[in-house]
């Protein structure tokens, strides 16, 4: 501890605290320009200079640590004049076109000039101008280099946090300008974090260009609903129209960083395609109706089914709030007396159950900062840079200043690879085998210590050659992954939801975790989800085998696949689907479409008329995330508040209100009046939520806590039947097709956002560099991807780091329906890639 005197006020702070922080905590304000708490230190703007008694020169407070007995003056005449001189110098070449500049009103340079700057400047020379018109740097970023004050925050955040390294400086001295690559050479994440950190109007959002002044905007701090990272963001609107999303430095785990979807994926809220009224199918077409009519039709449909003892099922999206998901399962289980419910349509229901157990989700939440405070991090089952960009940013940022070995196991190459100590490129759906290989190495090396390891028997049957050929990964790399783990004191294993798509032998994760714990390592398990409330959905019991809080159900319910199978046999009388586009998402589009046709009464509740909604008997208009209250549980197990600040469009209603109304139509005692009320009931049903106070959930939310129930029994973990594609390649179909979210899109919702569509609107196919060379195609060329049942023409993207023989098509696009390649029960499909000669640009669907 060091005791320092700041402006005569004595305070005691930790050793190594910066003068800036010490002064702030003592209540003195020191202006800064280039300083940014979560970036490397630059100390170039010299605005934060302070006087240290006994030192001749003024010192930059943003890099100078306090020393015991130091006496610092932040308000002395020398400091004040230096400060105002620096601001005057910053303003010398600044164009001062504040009336035009979009940053006006929230500009840090304006603020410090107003507070600390000179009242008058003697500058009377001609100002430096790089260009007259602003550059359009990317579909979302506009640059005006004239306004740049060379704080280099954008350059630093791009390189250090985002890992894109697309911004840099050119020239030197007074002619220094920020610059970037042009057009197709720009390998930008379009995340807009550079805009967020820019203290002046040098980098500006293209979508917010000349839309409004910040003081005209009304906003709400809420949580992003795209991926499981659970970023806090602020949605701002003027006159009811959402104009932008920003992030605040002090809010949430993301600390000012957002990805392209989070920052630009908002304009669907004001989309004119939104459903604004309920619709009922009359004579083959869907026609607008009132809520009373719609609820009456639903009541008739459901009561009829109950009377006849028919099957009722429900599928809810994992993008609904906890309250809605809880209410949904309550409606299903209590009112409609059925266990046939599921969340999402892409996962293997059995694998989900195993996943929740091996990942020890019932043990409560693990903060990402705790999880990343580790010696070794294994990321498996997720293209984390694309699926959860902000998690990727956090890993990159936190791994920079400390020694953390990152091991990435994935068939696709990703941006985080460059920060990794080791990458394991494996064949798709071989995650379980990779884990079993690592476990085997650990077991071989420490057999004496691992005598008590449960599950060691299956390990013994694993041979090095077998794993190498199954995973397509060099055994040496698997060995070095194990070596990294055995030489660390703590290991974090981040498992993504790709392991739920093409299920592999997840139960080996349990063996690995058991082995590491027996070896005395601190093991943290960190799930990575591509849907914002995937964890919440399971915790609320939207799963046929799990009640709220992961307690087991009595009856045998059907999962999504089971429900569709029952439907295709014509057994499903009523199916209530909320927010899920099954036809587009279920990994066998043809089957899903045929099955849904045979559902006798299909109720779809959504914001848009999706492919599934088009088949419904009744369509109910739901609300977007800024139009309803509730909570989300992110992948960490952090509960965060969703806040309503706009009324739903048209006659649409918050989803929980609709579920409550549907329930009340069938059973009048099903009565819920507010999201907070429902949350109170959740606390009873899922004890992990007991300590969370709905009303006082602030910026960073609250982690759920482990309950008293006993932890997962290692022996009882159900094994998963592997659906790994055969190792020997079929000469006709040499590629394995995998799918997932694209960096700029998430599910189907983001495609309704015009800004994200500007970045990428058509499906692409990503192949490895090696394959591209063999096929003699390059980035931007068209190829035909041919499966056994479906083919499509797509634009090639080359991923330098991907494994050979893997083709990736994002699942987000409507022009190419990736799920049509799949056949139910056969796992990942094999495809052929044919270069397209000549120029044909149509989406070719067989």
């Amino acid at each position: 501890m060091a005791t320092v005197k700041i402006n005569g006020k004595e305070i005691t702070v930790e050793d190594g605290t910066l003068i800036l922080d010490a002064a702030t905590s003592a209540g003195f304000e020191i202006p800064t320009m280039c300083f940014h708490a979560r970036l490397s230190k630059l100390a170039s703007c010299r605005v934060c200079l302070v006087e240290i008694v006994g030192q001749k020169k003024l010192q930059p407070s943003c890099v100078t640590p306090v020393m015991h007995g130091m006496e610092v003056l932040t308000e002395s005449p020398v400091v004040k004049s230096a400060r105002s001189a620096m601001i005057d110098l910053l303003l010398a070449n600044h164009p001062l076109d504040c009336p035009v500049c979009d940053k006006g009103g929230e500009c840090e340079l304006q603020d410090i000039t107003f507070k600390f700057g000179p009242r008058k400047s003697p500058f009377g020379e001609e100002k430096r101008r790089f260009h007259e018109e602003d550059y359009i740097l990317s579909p979302v970023i506009i640059q005006n280099a004239n306004r740049c004050i060379q704080c280099k925050r954008c350059v630093r955040i791009c390189a250090e946090t985002v890992g894109a390294e697309v911004l840099g400086s050119i020239d030197r001295g007074a002619g220094t300008g920020e610059t970037s690559f042009v057009k197709e050479y720009l390998d930008c994440d379009h995340c807009g974090n550079c805009i967020e950190v820019c203290p002046v109007g040098s980098l500006m959002s293209r979508s917010f260009r000349y839309k409004s002044r910040p003081w005209d905007l009304k906003g709400v701090d809420t949580v992003c609903t795209y991926c499981g990272t659970g970023c806090q963001l602020t949605v701002q609107a003027r006159n009811g129209e959402v104009l932008r999303v920003i992030s605040k430095p002090d809010k949430g785990i993301n600390h000012e960083t957002l990805c392209a979807r989070g920052r630009y994926g908002y304009s669907f809220i004001n989309s004119h395609e939104r459903l604004v009224t309920p619709m009922i199918r009359k004579g083959g077409t869907l026609e607008p109706a009132t809520w009373d009519e719609a609820l009456k039709a639903i009541k008739e449909g459901i009561t009829g089914a109950i009377r006849n003892g028919g099957k009722i099922g429900g599928i809810a999206s994992s993008r609904l709030s906890n309250e809605e998901l809880y209410l949904f399962q309550r409606l299903m289980r209590v009112v409609l007396k059925t266990n046939h419910i599921d969340s999402g349509s892409r996962w293997n229901t059995g694998a989900v159950k195993t996943f929740t157990e091996v990942m020890e989700l019932s043990r409560g939440g693990v903060s990402i900062y705790d999880a990343l405070n580790t010696d070794t991090l294994l990321v498996i089952g997720s293209s984390i840079s694309d699926e959860n960009p902000v998690t990727d940013y956090m890993i990159r940022r936190l791994s920079q200043n400390k020694k953390m070995n990152i091991i990435i196991a994935s068939p696709r190459g990703m941006k985080l690879d460059s920060s990794a100590a080791l990458t394991l490129r494996h064949r798709p759906a071989a995650e379980g085998e990779i884990i079993s290989g690592i476990s085997r190495v650990l077991y071989d090396k420490n057999a004496d210590k691992l005598n008590d390891l449960s599950g060691k028997e299956p390990l013994k049957s694993i041979s090095k050659e077998n794993i190498s050929s199954l995973t397509g990964t060099d055994w040496g790399r698997i060995e070095s992954a194990a070596n990294f783990m055995s030489s660390s004191n703590s290991v974090t294993i981040a498992v993504g939801n790709d392991v739920l798509r093409g299920p592999s032998r997840l139960e080996f994760l349990n063996v690995l975790v058991g082995a590491l714990r027996l070896l005395g390592k601190e093991v943290k398990l960190f799930p990575v989800f591509d849907r914002a409330n995937q964890r919440g959905a399971w915790e609320m019991g939207v799963h046929p085998a799990m009640m709220p809080g992961y307690s087991a159900t009595a009856g045998n319910g059907l999962g999504c696949e089971g429900i569709l199978e029952a439907s295709s046999r014509g057994e499903m009388d009523v199916l209530y689907v909320i927010g899920e586009d099954i036809v587009s998402d279920f990994p066998d589009g043809r089957f899903a479409e045929e099955a849904l046709h045979r559902v006798k009464f299909l109720i779809v509740q959504d914001m848009f008329l999706t492919e599934t909604a088009k088949m419904a008997g009744v369509v109910l208009p739901g609300a977007s995330f800024v139009e309803k209250d509730g909570t989300f549980t992110n992948q960490e197990g952090r509960v965060q508040r969703l806040r309503r600040f706009l009324p739903p469009q048209g006659d649409a209603k918050a989803d929980w209100e609709i579920i409550a109304a549907v329930g009340a139509a069938v059973d009048p005692s099903f009565n819920y009046g507010s999201a907070a009320g429902i949350f109170g009931e959740i606390k009873e049903a899922a004890p992990m939520y007991r300590e969370i106070a709905f009303e006082s959930l602030d910026g960073s939310g609250a982690l759920i806590k482990e309950t008293n129930r006993k932890g997962t029994d290692l022996k009882s973990v159900p094994s998963v039947a592997s659906q790994m594609p055969a190792a020997s390649p079929d000469p006709d179909y040499p590629f394995v097709l995998i799918t997932g979210n694209h960096l700029y899109h998430s599910g189907r919702l983001s495609l309704r956002t015009d800004i994200l569509r500007d970045i990428l609107s058509e499906a692409i196919v990503e192949i490895s560099e090696e394959d591209a060379k063999d096929l003699k195609v390059g980035k931007g060329d068209k190829v035909v991807v041919k499966g056994e049942r479906y083919e499509a023409t797509l634009t090639v993207h080359v991923n330098k780091r991907s494994a050979k023989g893997v083709v990736f098509i994002p699942e987000n696009f409507t022009d190419v329906r990736v799920n049509m390649f799949f056949t139910k029960g056969e796992g990942l499909p094999r495809v052929r890639v044919l270069p397209l000669t000549g120029k044909s640009h149509g989406g070719g669907i067989k």
């Binding site: 076109d97 504040c98 009336p99 035009v100 006006g104 018109e133 602003d134 260009r209 000349y210 839309k211 409004s212 002044r213 003081w215 005209d216």
Partner: protein
């Protein structure tokens, strides 16, 4: 001698006989009949043009090249104490403004405006001026919600006109109300 004894006022009598007071009074009337008129024949024939400092109806100016000076910075809206101004900016690539930022909407609710002129002070480009139009009575509320297009139209009194004079005017009426149209070419000072 005491002339009061007679108690006879010849002057008074003569005045009465010859209607002197009447004539005197009539003379004033007569004098004004032929002297210079100081009342204004408003609104039928004449109207008062105020001085430059006058704060009347708002006007949005253009520069010499005919480009809109307003860049939609919203400072007038921010400075307005009665919140009667609404500005929505937009991007413009046609070059109609002095910058690529122009006002998409610039609206003022004159029913709320108190003509304090703070908006004029706030304007960084001298686009906004309070002009010299003061005949703001109207027959409908709608007439008092003025849009950018109406405000961009030049006012009858040009900005550089000194003012402080009476000019010839014509009274015109249309469906929106009564309008006094000044003719700046014929002017006079009121004193």
């Amino acid at each position: 001698m005491n002339r009061n004894h007679y108690n006879f006022d010849l002057n008074g009598l003569l005045k009465k006989v010859f209607f002197v007071d009447l004539i005197q009074g009539l003379f004033i009337t007569f004098h004004y009949t032929f002297s210079k008129t100081i009342t204004m024949k408003y609104p039928d024939e004449e109207t008062w043009i105020p001085y430059k400092r006058f704060r009347g109806l708002h006007t949005l100016n253009k520069n010499k090249e005919g480009k809109e000076l307003c860049v939609g910075c919203e400072l007038c809206q921010k400075s307005c104490p009665t919140q009667c101004i609404t500005v929505v900016p937009m991007q413009d690539t046609t070059g109609k403004g002095i910058a690529d930022r122009v006002a998409y909407r610039w609206e003022i609710n004159l029913l709320r405006c108190m003509f304090c002129g703070l908006c004029e002070d706030a304007c960084p480009t001298e686009a906004l001026k309070l002009g010299r139009e003061y005949e703001l009575a109207g027959t409908s509320m709608q007439r008092h919600l003025l849009t950018k297009e109406e405000l961009l139209a030049p006012q009858a009194v040009p900005a550089e006109f000194e003012g402080g004079v009476i000019v010839k005017a014509r009274l015109g009426t249309d469906e929106t109300g009564i309008k006094v149209v000044p003719d700046m070419s014929v002017q006079k000072r009121w004193w």
